[in-house]
């Protein structure tokens, strides 16, 4: 039987029930004075702070700066990770040459490089881009390599027997076969991207969301601090939604993703 419109709306709403309940409880606790708004502003206070920051343009400029840093850092680190993942997945020589080195570097928590990075780059853009790039590099690299490695060798043999040139073989067999794994790397990388950027902006920046939050802390503007945290949550959700959209578009052939 086809589910009725009401059932479908209910199904859509279910995931949001818990967040809504928390918000309501929070608002009630703040309004009744159970929780001091000096430490935890009411949701309405956060919305008001957001409205004010949006009207002054401060929110947009900080948001766009953070977004640009995230995107550029991601493109650099993800691009290099993807290229090296491909190279090492396809060429034994390349792998033997670089993989051991990369695995050694991988075990260093990239945020532990912050003091060094500040020494090298100061608190310029370079520092943030470098950290984000290093952070996203490894998940993209490792999953691209794994994806290429795990392409079904029977399909590769079929492609060869049917006369595919190396370029066609890569485009039609190897890359599509590695794509599910590459998407896993992409999701990890997007999470690490925000995490790294926020930490970097909190520690050393003169603009961006992290900077906005740190400055608000100095003036005891708790509502702005919470606003920044809520925006992080929203950005994370947005990044995840984009990946899901891409997965549904590019992995439609895979029954595991068709109705995801």
């Amino acid at each position: 039987m086809i589910p009725s419109v009401r059932t479908r709306i209910l199904e859509r709403l279910t995931p949001w029930l818990v967040p809504a309940a928390i918000l309501l409880g929070w608002q009630a606790a703040a309004s009744t004075g159970l929780v001091s708004t000096r430490f935890m502003p009411a949701p309405s206070g956060v919305v008001a702070a957001g409205w004010q920051a949006a009207r002054s343009g401060e929110l947009w400029s900080n948001l766009s700066i953070s977004f640009a840093r995230a995107a550029v850092g991601f493109l650099i680190g993800g691009g290099i990770g993807f290229a090296l993942g491909l190279a090492n997945g396809l060429s034994r020589l390349s792998e033997r040459l670089t993989d051991t080195t990369l695995q050694m570097i991988r075990n260093i928590p990239h945020l532990s490089l912050i003091p060094l990075v500040i020494l090298w780059f100061g608190i310029d853009e370079g520092a943030k881009l470098f950290l984000v790039a290093i952070g996203v590099f490894f998940p993209v690299y490792a999953n691209t390599l794994h994806g290429i490695r795990s392409v079904d060798p029977q399909l590769v043999e079929m492609g060869r027997v049917y006369g595919m040139s190396p370029a066609t073989l890569f485009r039609r067999v190897v890359l599509p076969g590695a794509l599910p794994s590459i998407f896993v790397g992409l999701r990890y990388a997007l999470g690490i991207m925000w995490l790294t950027l926020i930490v970097a902006e909190t520690i050393s920046a003169s603009s961006g969301l992290g900077y906005m939050a740190m400055q608000a802390r100095e003036f005891m503007l708790v509502d702005v601090v919470v606003l920044a945290i809520v925006i992080y949550a929203g950005l994370g959700k947005a990044a995840d939604a984009v990946t899901r959209l891409l997965e549904r578009r590019f992995l439609a052939w895979n029954p595991a993703y068709r109705n995801a």
């Binding site: 029977q154 399909l155 027997v161 049917y162 006369g163 066609t168 076969g177 794509l179 052939w253 029954p255």
Partner: protein, 280 residues
Amino acid sequence: MLATALRVPEDAQTRDPKPREVAASRAPARAAPPSATGIGVTLRDLRKDFDGHTVIEGLDLHIPAGQFVAVVGRSGCGKSTLLRLILGLEQASAGRIALETRAVRTPPKRIMFQEPRLLPWARVVDNVAVGLGEGGSRAERRARAEAALAEVGLSEKAGNWPATLSGGQRQRVALARALVSRPGLLALDEPLGALDALTRIDMQAMIERIWRAQGFTAILVTHDVAEAVAMADRILVVEAGRIALDVAVDVPRPRRRGDADLAALEGRILDHLLSERAPS
């Protein structure tokens, strides 16, 4: 009656100690139907080693263009290696492989594997088009792929993902992919081994019908003797890297399942295979 139906070339009946000397006398078991599109295969003193271990040794064989040959044997006897050598998927350690055709442009060689090996990320029709190689316009490729799909009775599945097909349907798509380029030689490496009994019989009939219509040379590797007897003009029993038995199946087509002559031939080949177990 049996005697005429199941004629065996003299030299193939016993394992001969000096295969090179009898090579010339190993002529085709009977006159093959003339084929303009098929590829003829001649092997001379073929040998193949893997890591110092000899899989095929001193093998001589002629397959006339257009013949349907079944190769049977125990696991590890070298029958799949023989197929891969003929296709050029493996390099021979010694000996010569000659392919000849009467066609002006050499038709391609194609293989059907035991697994369908379809690209899961390509629609059924695009999977079939893989068999066309790289040339041709989009529209032309699509038209030819659709024609090949129609031949295996799967026109309505052209836009499906392979994951939505049954095992038998996937193997039919693989057959369409192998046939879409009008091959001169079709190698079948136990392509029906994973299918259920009824689907197998349907597929056997389909392959036989298309083979009769197109006239390619077919080499079927199988360990199902009944399948070999039902489909082939000629059956080769491979044993320890040599051809131990070379039998013509002179039973007219279309063949009926359970035919007495076929059953008798099947019994004889099985006896031969089973007797290999106890070397005297």
